[in-house]
């Protein structure tokens, strides 16, 4: 490919709420290592094949140093979640990353998340009761999808859920690649940093039963714990990560299952399929957002193409999850698919730290919805559903439902 050829713009614009852009299949087939132009005007390399995405995400040569001077700027003005200073305070690789990962990851084990199930179930039941009381049609995103993960992560971090509007705004300024001006993002980040800094100081004075108090109790870096700034950034990172991701996924999952109502009916009849249905929703989500960017510190080869040092690579997990070479009948949503080694949570040492939490939340929400509102249906045609624009994490603006 020469530089004169028309270069694909990334993110690839897509109007349909649930359908993948036609370009994915074309890229996987003919151009698995593609040149793309980002919103900033910078060039990057897009990967869409399952094997490539899986391999690169697990390869430490592909770093998260998106703040490098020659790394492509992801958003329109180069700010945001991937390039903020925040990202560079959590160690990117090696022993230090492993230490951080294990110190924080131990609070997100499958067993701990399973222990939260009863409380989550109660919360989901209450939120659904409230939605029903307000009358139909209701917005499942605002009524259930958004509040549930926010309450859960606030509780885990010991921050007051009453401050959730502020968290939502701070989180959005970090995750939205187009909506905010540089000054707005900087002001929001400074306010968020101050908030978390005060919160951690308060926890130091008066520890609670939350992850941040536990991380403080692990002591100084010399004692095996985290530094003050690492604590603050970890708290910010967990709060942002626990916000938009699962919140949007709950809405998308329910829409995918209701878009073809035989799927919903099958689950109502056989709730034992909830686990595999959740995994398939994660795989099938064609609106999962930007993907994961990586920065190359050394020349490397991917699928026979040499990538020079300084290349910014974008891994499209959503495109990879539709790869026919990796999944039989990849374009079909199969609620019993097993095994389902999708890449929605990434792969390798950096794969999502909160995935057991996300899975548990998705399973609980689905279980409670099927039980309490088996007659649930979309209140608008699928074609009328609108994507959230510009978010690093894809979502739908609203999810109107009846029951």
């Amino acid at each position: 490919m020469t530089t004169d050829e028309q270069v694909l713009t990334y993110p690839i614009p897509s109007d349909a709420a649930l359908e993948p852009p036609a370009e994915w299949a074309e890229l996987r087939g003919k151009c698995p290592v593609a040149h793309v132009k980002l919103l900033s005007g910078d060039q990057a390399t897009l990967l869409t094949r399952y094997d490539d995405v899986k391999e690169v995400l697990a390869d430490p040569r592909f770093t998260r140093q998106l703040t490098a001077p020659d790394a492509a700027r992801i958003s329109a003005d180069g700010e945001g979640v991937f390039s903020s200073e925040m990202a560079s305070i959590i160690p990117d690789g090696g022993e230090e990353h492993l230490h951080w990962r294990r110190l924080v990851g131990k609070w997100f084990t499958a067993k701990r998340m399973s222990a939260l199930r009863p409380a989550m179930t109660e919360m989901a039941e209450q939120l659904i009761d409230d939605m029903v009381e307000r009358g139909q049609p209701g917005d499942l995103k605002a009524s259930l999808g958004f509040p549930l993960p926010v309450y859960v992560i606030c509780d885990m971090l010991g921050v007051p859920a009453e401050d959730r509007d502020r968290f939502s705004y701070w989180s959005d300024t970090l995750l939205n690649l187009t909506r905010y001006r540089k000054e707005e993002i900087e002001a929001a980040q400074a306010a968020f940093f101050q908030y978390m800094s005060d919160h951690i100081a308060a926890k130091r004075e008066q520890p609670g039963e939350d992850i941040l108090s536990e991380l403080i109790a692990a002591g100084s870096p010399e004692e095996g714990g985290l530094s003050d700034i690492q604590l603050i950034v970890t708290g910010m990172g967990l709060l942002v990560a626990g916000h938009e991701t699962t919140a949007n996924m709950i809405g998308k999952m329910v829409v995918m299952l209701l878009a073809d109502r035989t799927r919903w009916q099958r689950l109502v009849a056989d709730p034992s399929l909830i686990r595999t249905a959740v995994e398939e929703s994660l795989r099938f989500d064609a609106n999962s957002g930007f993907g994961l960017p990586r920065y190359l510190n050394e020349e490397t080869e991917v699928s026979g193409t040499i990538l020079p040092r300084g290349t910014t690579v974008i891994c499209s997990m959503a495109a990879a999850n539709r790869d026919e070479d990796a999944f039989e009948a990849a374009a079909e949503m199969d609620l019993t698919r097993s095994p389902n080694p999708h890449l929605a949570f990434g792969s390798g040492a950096h794969s999502c730290l909160g995935q057991a939490l996300a899975r548990t939340e998705l399973q609980v929400v689905l279980e409670v919805l099927l039980r309490k509102l088996p007659t649930l249906e979309l209140a608008v045609p699928v074609e009328e559903l609108e994507r959230v624009e510009g978010l690093a994490v894809g979502g739908l603006r609203t999810v109107p439902v009846r029951w």
Binding site: K106, F108, T109, M113, R275, H350, S351, Q355, A356
Partner: protein, 66 residues
Amino acid sequence: MKITVDEVKCCGAGQCVLIAPEVFDQRDEDGIVILLEPEPGEDQHALVREAAAVCPAAAIEVSDQA
């Protein structure tokens, strides 16, 4: 069936525990995998294979033996 796990590779995602809790667990102190049952009974084989296939760190190996 014989299972081995690689604690160094393990990233603590917990998928194996969610899928086959009778065979896998995670250490409380760092979230790393614990193999509860290196040679599980037949009723667990399908779940173990699924857990190995979806492990994001490819840290579970399953070998068949007579």
